[in-house]
């Protein structure tokens, strides 16, 4: 039997009178690559912030690995095995690339040399090892996205929340990142993936949930979603050529 790793159970998030996420429910299975898509302002990132502990939910429950996590702090969520990246990358600018990834690795070890070893492995796996001694702030956007990925992978997460990890990247860079994501899944991690790039999403995801104006519009396989007239009207119809 496939286990649900993440349950989103009737989650709402209001900012004052503003409803950013309204009564959303879905579940993510182990080893799935799960896509969360929708037009700008659909509530994708808000939902991510709720799941990763940065926003308290207004109502509903978030259950990860059989634990209710909606009252936990971000660092506690991370220690349960859920790691996230940021749409707007957050490199620790004055530290080196290696040190950035080591800081991720310190969530699973206390020993500096051990953290360095894990960090080097991760830098090799995303192809950043040549930049190890460079300042993280000096990298190009494509490399910064790779750094974000290496840094969260160093926490050895069960589940990865990737917020537009391919945003702003060119075709080859996107291909590389998608390749890494597939590899990570094959090693046993589960991936939830916010993306604008429909090609990327349909290429890689097993299951997709579409949000629109804070509500769940549809869910299904990539084929079902791309064929869904409502989704096309709300999202793809808006000038996208996917």
């Amino acid at each position: 039997m496939i286990q649900h790793l993440l349950y989103i159970n009737h989650v709402s998030k209001h900012f004052g009178g503003n409803v950013a996420v309204s009564d959303i429910s879905f579940s993510v299975d182990e080893k799935q690559i799960f896509g969360l898509i929708g037009p700008n302002g659909a509530g994708k990132t808000t939902l991510f912030n709720c799941i990763s502990g940065f926003y308290p939910v207004t109502s509903g429950d978030i259950i990860f690995d059989n634990k209710t996590i909606n009252k936990l702090r971000p660092d506690e969520v991370c220690h349960l095995g859920m790691a996230r990246t940021w749409q707007r990358v957050k490199p620790l600018g004055s530290l080196t690339v290696l040190e950035n990834v080591m800081i991720g690795a310190f969530s699973i070890t206390h020993v500096t040399r051990e953290a360095e070893k894990i960090a080097i492995e991760q830098l090799e796996s995303v192809g950043l090892i040549d930049y190890a001694k460079k300042n993280a702030g000096s990298l190009s956007i494509g490399l910064k996205k790779k750094l974000e990925l290496a840094r969260v992978l160093a926490t050895h997460p069960k589940m990865l929340l990737l917020d537009e990890i391919c945003g702003g990247l060119n075709l080859t860079e996107t291909e590389t990142i998608l390749g890494i994501i597939r590899e990570v899944r094959d090693k046993g991690a589960t991936i939830v993936f916010i993306e604008h790039d429909m090609k990327a999403v349909t290429a890689i995801c097993d299951w997709i949930v579409v949000l629109n104006s804070g509500e769940k519009l549809a869910e299904g396989t990539p084929e079902e979603i791309t064929g869904n007239p409502e989704v096309i009207a709300a999202y793809l119809g808006g000038g996208h050529n996917a």
Partner: protein, 331 residues
């Protein structure tokens, strides 16, 4: 390893320095001030430089150490070392109360609260009886294990020891999990939290280490001077001087605060004792009775804070990494 060797070499040179300069109480006094400011700025730097949490009220911890020690020695005749330990406890309690409330918030709240806490401590010391109020506390006689504490030399070595310990902590933190976590917090708190860093815990940890070291220096200073009042050990000026020393030297680095103290304390001393004004007069460049001569004599002595200010502005504009950054050293 290289850095430990540098500490050892500098400590070695500092250890024989009093033998070289001989029994000059004046120079020994200046050197004690340099060592103390270097240690104070280094201790501040663990919180302000590594973790990016700027405390504008470190005088509170310095004063907590100084007052606790002086009260326990003068009223209860307690051993100076035990009094120092008691000072650490008091400073840590103040730090924990402040940190556990304020570190829940982000932004400049900690900086603001640190000033407020320091002022609360200062005004309390000024108005309570057991702290001697505005009169302060005078210590007529003190000894430890038969060592003559009327001489400055024991305090020179005491300050040197605390500085070496502080630098050792600063250095080992740099390459440890805690040190990396503090730097992550300084760079980006959201990223830090998402990587599993408990922000409040690590900020409190840095504050406690910093406050404890600062309090030890306060205790040492109090027994060395044997007189304290609020303007000597709890003043906002002291807090500012600590920050400026760290910033001008190179904030966030191991050696910056030491460099800042080595450059600034003698400079302040020269201005205070009017060495520059006197030299200009002696060289015949400025007549003692001329308008400029009188101005130099009367005003330059009070100018060291102004000079600090000007150097700070220049540093912020041209040397954001401090004077250490100018030397081209990364760490």
């Amino acid at each position: 390893m290289k850095q430990i060797a540098i500490i050892a070499v500098i400590a070695g040179i500092a250890a024989v320095l009093p033998l070289v300069i001989g029994e000059s109480p004046y120079f020994t006094g200046v050197l004690i001030s340099v060592l103390m400011m270097a240690a104070l700025a280094s201790a501040w730097n663990i919180l302000g430089g590594y973790a990016g949490q700027y405390s504008f009220g470190h005088a509170a911890y310095f004063g907590a150490g100084a007052y606790t020690t002086m009260i326990l020695i003068s009223k209860f005749n307690l051993n100076p070392i035990l009094s120092m330990v008691a000072g650490i406890v008091v400073a840590c309690i103040i730090a924990l109360v402040t940190g556990s409330i304020v570190f829940r918030l982000r932004g400049h709240y900690f900086g603001l609260a640190s000033i407020a806490v320091a002022e609360i401590v200062r005004l309390s010391a000024l108005n309570f009886d057991f702290t001697g109020g505005a009169q302060g506390i005078l210590l007529t006689d003190v000894s430890l294990w038969g060592v003559d504490l009327n001489s400055k030399t024991p305090f020179y070595y005491g300050m040197l020891l605390v500085l070496v310990v502080t630098l050792g902590i600063a250095l080992s933190l740099r390459t440890s999990k805690t040190g990396y976590y503090l730097q992550a917090i300084r760079e980006d708190q959201d990223a830090a939290a998402s990587l599993g860093i408990n922000l409040a815990f690590y900020k409190n940890k840095a504050l406690l280490i910093s406050a404890a070291l600062t309090s030890v220096l306060g205790s040492l200073y109090a027994v060395y001077i044997r007189f304290i009042d609020t303007s000597a050990v709890l003043d906002l000026r002291l807090s500012i001087e600590i920050i400026l020393t760290a910033i001008i030297g190179g904030v966030g680095t191991v050696w910056g605060p030491v460099l800042g103290a080595v450059l600034l304390v003698p400079l302040a001393e020269m201005l205070r004792s009017n060495v520059i004004g006197d030299a200009l007069v002696k060289q015949g460049m400025v007549s003692e009775t001329s308008g400029l001569g009188v101005f130099l004599k009367e005003n330059l002595a009070h100018a060291h804070v102004l000079v600090y200010g000007i150097i700070t502005v220049l540093c912020i504009l041209y040397l954001p990494k401090g004077i250490l950054g100018l030397l081209g050293r990364k760490k």
